[in-house]
């Protein structure tokens, strides 16, 4: 066995030595390593220690095969004996001779072959990563080596020297991995006995430490805990992701220092940070930050919760966490949060409390708003109370502890109220490179072999979700698999499905699987041919079957399949129709049992139209455009129907039979457009020919009764134009062209028509007013009637110009309500002087006593022919 491994130099191969050897002594040789490995807390030293010891051991063994076999055996025996009696822990320091033989061997080997520097190089990455990952900063022992001075000298921009004092670090009773490797590099620099001393001391310490810890929990934790927990960052510096985000959060927590810990600690720092902010803070009596709540948001698995906890610890708080497992009602705020805040300290801890409300957006249900509401009240109701506290001491105590809320969806409706008052910090996924790096470190620590490509695939699949990555890796390791891209793909099959996009599925419908994917999935020739299950599952997973159907519909005619008799097309359409009928009845009759079968009708497109290198399927959009257009046109129909209906009400015409859906769309809409576009020459209405005038007045009549108008607008080129309103001309416009037989009336014509319509409308309005006024005449002043007459001036356009004047001349005197006693608005008789006030032509009240009167009737013209009483005297 010993001779079988003479030339092995690489550590990973060396690791196999004992097992390959199979002999008992070979196995024993590995035991000390196992002992070192079993340190529960700190993996790094053990890992650090194990390669080194192994290397030395292997070196030694490779040697011993040739030279010092006896020495080797002796070496093995010593540790064995030590391990054999675990009870005698006190013997550990004396066991220092145990590593003793290692070193000399290593040295001996070093003297013989040149490979040792290589091994040191090999080990360096381990050392570095462990130092980074474990984060156990260099201890005292390293300090003299790396930084010999206790203070640093630096220069500011102004050139003034600044001395930075080195802070004495906490002593860590664990062997420092960095030192190990460094020592390997210059192994010969250090006398052998010192090295041996170090090693023994370290071992002793480690064992002693193990003693302190509860051995049961310690060992079980290593094996059972999730990697996610095991590699959860414990310190601020270990956090992965955007430094600025971390700093922002820490900064916010630090702003509380003044309030929580008192002035001394961070006053200067705060000032330095931001002058303006300090001013704002000054307003707060308690020197709290402006926003009392911090809202962390971001996708899952990026470490929001971890960040909150780490920062709380960093800033010296004890965390009081409320998460989705707790009921989140207003009650909880009163029962749990408020007491915690008011006491200011966590139970059984001397640290001030910091409240972390996790998954706050998941607070749905009836009481969620109550919870948020109470929370908000907590912050600002208390702010006012805090100020008012000086006035009445009975008020509740102001909020004195920071609250951090964590959510995934920042725009959840339940958070709407919280958003404006909270400081919002958004999490984004760290760059893939960083995640991959961290994953690789972890893989190395866990002795999982993983290539970078596999890891970056993993990161891509999980979309930066570190928790997902770690869980997947642990799962893979549990199955003793190597981490390759393929394994990752199978392990994350579910995750991948979830984010599959309907467009990519649609593309799968029209193109065969790529060679690469076939290989990835490890499918045989026969499996590759099977598509139904694969495609239907993919289609179902998207949850957008309707859109896939649309995509199929819009794309199938673009494929290049030769189809002389359209047999393919007919089939494809049959399937689409089947799909539509199925989904139609699914919706209409709520037969959701059909749902699983829907996707199969679409899968049929694959055998019909799949081709390599065809067009990519575009996002289906024609249907949406059509939908938008239909909506717009429907609006026009609606407004036309409304106009016809109200027009009917006003003219007491009977258009209601025209507004049935079909009738209006098929008959009224096309013809009304023709009816309202007669050929009229654009001339002044005064010089118009009589027959044209007839047409014009008829046109105006129709348009008024249907409530159609021409509305003046500025076109895109700034030119004035008249637009039909409602724009019913869309119904004769197909493909953007108007029907050929409808003349587009020119601006001048439309102007003329619009003018006439307005005149007509005013006339009608006046007419209506007049009618109602005549009806109520007995209770109104004459003046009000005159006002109505005044309105009539507008209708001159349609009548001969002199007519209104004549009418007014005649009607004017009639205003006098001769034969009735004058009454005011409330029907009370009133004194004639006030009655006659508005009327200039009013004659003396004596006239009302005359027994006779002349009735004058005027009934000519289209406008209001009003019958009024008039006196002869007024004509004289």
């Amino acid at each position: 066995m010993l001779s079988s491994t003479p030339g092995i130099l690489l550590p990973d191969v060396l690791l196999e030595v004992p097992t390959r050897g199979g002999a008992e002594d070979g196995y024993d040789a590995f035991v000390p390593n196992g002992l070192l490995n079993s340190t529960p807390r700190d993996l790094s030293p053990s890992l650090q220690a194990s390669p080194s010891t192994e290397v030395s051991h292997s070196r030694q063994s490779s040697h011993s095969g040739s030279k010092t076999g006896d020495l080797y055996l002796g070496l093995e025996l010593v540790p064995n004996g030590l391990l054999g009696e675990p009870s005698s822990k006190q013997d550990v320091p004396p066991s220092s001779p145990s590593p003793e033989p290692f070193r000399p061997n290593g040295l001996l080997s070093q003297s013989q072959d040149e490979e040792l520097p290589d091994i040191a190089d090999l080990l360096r990455p381990y050392a570095r990563t462990t130092a980074h990952a474990s984060g156990s900063s260099a201890g005292i022992s390293t300090a003299p080596i790396v930084l010999p001075r206790s203070s640093l000298r630096a220069h500011t921009y102004a050139g003034q020297p600044v001395f930075l004092r080195r802070r004495a670090r906490q002593k860590i009773g664990v062997v420092q991995p960095v030192r190990e490797s460094q020592r390997m590099g210059n192994l010969l620099d250090v006398p052998i006995h010192r090295l041996l001393d170090h090693l023994s001391v370290n071992t002793a310490r480690k064992l002693a430490k193990e003693d302190d810890d509860d051995p049961a929990t310690a060992s079980s934790a290593t094996e059972d805990s999730l990697w996610v927990d095991r590699y959860r960052p414990k310190r601020f510096t270990e956090l992965l992701g955007d430094e600025r985000v971390h700093r922002e959060v820490l900064g916010w927590v630090k702003e509380w220092d003044h309030c929580v810990f008192g002035k001394s600690k961070t006053k200067g720092k705060k000032r330095a940070r931001d002058g303006e902010e300090t001013n704002l803070l000054q307003e707060d009596a308690l020197h709290r930050p402006q926003e009392k709540i911090l809202l962390l948001s971001g996708p899952p698995g990026l470490g929001k919760t971890t960040l909150a906890h780490v920062i709380a610890r960093q800033a010296g708080y004890a965390v009081f966490e409320i998460n989705a497992s707790d009921a989140r009602t207003g009650q909880v705020v009163d029962d749990r949060i408020r007491p915690a805040l008011e006491s200011g300290f966590a139970v059984g801890s001397s640290k001030p409390v910091l409240i972390v409300i996790d998954e706050i957006d998941g607070a749905t249900g009836d009481n969620a708003s109550g919870f948020i509401h109470k929370l908000i009240q907590l912050t600002w109701e208390k702010t006012s109370k805090g100020r008012g506290k000086k006035r009445d001491d009975k008020g509740k105590r102001p909020l004195r502890r920071p609250i951090i809320c964590i959510c995934n969806d920042l725009y959840a409706s339940s958070l709407a109220k919280l958003r404006p008052i909270a400081r919002i910090v958004r999490f984004t996924r760290p760059t893939d490179v960083h995640i991959v790096k961290r994953l690789r470190e972890i893989c190395e620590l866990e002795a999982v072999h993983a290539d970078t490509r596999a890891l970056s695939t993993l990161v891509g699949v999980t979309r930066g979700d570190l928790r997902g990555c770690l869980n997947t890796l642990q799962f893979i390791k549990a199955r003793n698999q190597e981490v390759t891209e393929h394994v990752i793909r199978t392990a994350t099959a579910g995750m991948k499905e979830a984010d599959s996009n309907y467009l990519s599925v649609l593309n799968d419908f029209f193109s065969p699987m790529s060679k690469k994917r076939v290989k990835e999935r490890g499918l045989g020739e026969l499996d590759e041919q099977k598509y139904i299950d694969r495609l239907s599952r993919a289609a179902d997973a998207t949850g957008a079957l309707d859109r896939i159907a649309l995509g199929c519909f819009e794309h199938y005619a673009n494929t290049h399949q030769h189809d002389a008799t359209f047999a393919r097309y007919v089939k494809a359409n049959e399937w689409l129709v089947a799909y539509d009928v199925l989904s139609g009845s699914l919706r209409a009759e709520r037969e959701y049992a059909i749902l699983p079968y829907l996707s199969y009708s679409l899968v049929a497109f694959y055998p019909l139209f799949q081709e390599r290198g065809g067009h990519r399927v575009e996002r289906p959009k024609a249907d949406w455009e059509n939908h938008v257009k239909t909506q717009a046109n429907q609006e026009v129909y609606k407004s036309l129907a409304r106009a016809v209906r109200t027009g009917h009400g006003r003219t007491s015409g009977n258009y209601r039979h025209l507004i049935g859906d079909q009738i209006m769309r098929l008959e009224l809409a096309p013809y009304i457009n023709r009816i309202i576009s007669p050929p009229i020459r654009p001339v002044n209405s005064q010089v118009i020919r009589p027959e044209e005038k007839a047409i014009l007045s008829r046109l105006v009549n129709i348009m008024v009764s249907l409530e159609l108008r021409f509305v003046q607008e500025k076109g895109e080129d700034g030119q004035l134009m008249y637009r039909l309103d409602p724009p019913i001309d869309v119904f004769v416009t197909y493909d953007g062209k108007r029907a050929a037989d409808i003349v587009v009336s020119r601006y001048a014509v439309r102007h003329l028509v619009a003018f006439e319509i307005d005149a007509q409308l005013i006339a009608r309005q006046a007419d209506a007013v007049e009618r109602t006024q005549t009806r109520k005449a007995s209770s109104f002043f004459g003046a009000s009637r005159r006002e109505a007459r005044g309105d009539d001036n507008g209708d001159g356009a349609l009548e001969p110009a002199d007519e209104p004047r004549r009418k007014r001349a005649k009607a004017g005197p009639a205003v006098d309500i001769a034969d009735q006693p004058a009454v005011d608005f409330f029907g009370r008789p009133i004194v004639p002087t006030t009655t006659g006030g508005p009327s200039k032509l009013h004659s003396a009240p004596a006239q009302s006593e005359k027994p006779y009167r002349v009735s004058f009737r005027f009934s000519e013209g289209s406008s209001a022919a009003v019958r009024k009483h008039a006196k002869v005297s007024s004509f004289l």
Partner: protein
Amino acid sequence: MLWVDQYRPKTLKDLHYHEGLSQRLKSLAASGDFPHMLFYGPSGAGKKTRIACTLRELFGPGVEKLKIDQRVFLTPSRKKLDVNIVQSNYHIELTPSEVGNYDRVVIQEILKEIAQTQQVDLNAKQRFKVVIINEADSLSRDAQAALRRTMEKYMSNMRIILCANSTSRLIAPIKSRCLLIRVAAPNHKEMKTVLEYVAQSARAGKIPDEAAEDIVRDSNGNMRKAILVFEALKMQTPDLSGPLSIAKPDWETYCHKVGDMILQEQTPQRVMDVRAKLYELLSHCIPPTIIIKTVAERVVQGVDESLKADIMHWAAIYENRMRIGSKKIYHLEAWVVKVMSLYKHFFYDMDMSGFEDGF
């Protein structure tokens, strides 16, 4: 005012055609034993005109004093529905299909309300009120079921007049409770008479014979359409002389264009072109049933005798499926492709066997 409305007969004796029907309605109105009625017949035959005339016969000119109301109904799911109601003192007119699936609510609410109030006008000629339900054939089954009991229960207070295009979609119990009155489309001669009457009343001058013939032929028994066309013609060529072109509705012209396109060429590109045209028609809110019908009629004109039956057969099948489905364009295109395929087969004189069982 449009001619179609202006020269609409107001009384039964003014009606131009279906003298026998008018006579019967008159005697029914006079008998004092007025039944529920169902007027049916093609669009534009004069159903509503006849209903209005009958009402006038029943109640006198008072029924023409109309007011329009917009009533708000609450569905069981608390959705608000606006329904337009036209009513006089003696009757009420509604179109429940305006509210789609909720027509049952409207029917129940309104009918009950009317049925439970007596006629208050002592001078009224009849003791009952009349409810006119337009577009009765698009009533949902629920609504029709709601109607049937009400019709018997409140017979003393009200009569119902249904107006529908066809009776096929009305449930049998309703039909059996009504007096069915078919208003057939006028024949060409009758239509011409009406056109001449309109021309005369409107002082529009004599309508040229050919023009009248054209209008009558194009409007296909639809009097309303004929008069609209006539008015459009008169507006566009005021003197009614020279070569007159009778305007066709634009959607119809467009459908014909689609039909021609289908026959000209059968390629994938053409399928896409036709699809674009169909979309255009749909976006103008032309009902898909009308589209498939019009296009099919056009296509049939241009193909060999042996294909005609098949094309119509498939049009019927796809139209039926379209009613079940929700995306109309799928079915329209499926039919278009089917027709193209049939036409190609015919053209290449290929074996047609096995085509029927092709799907």
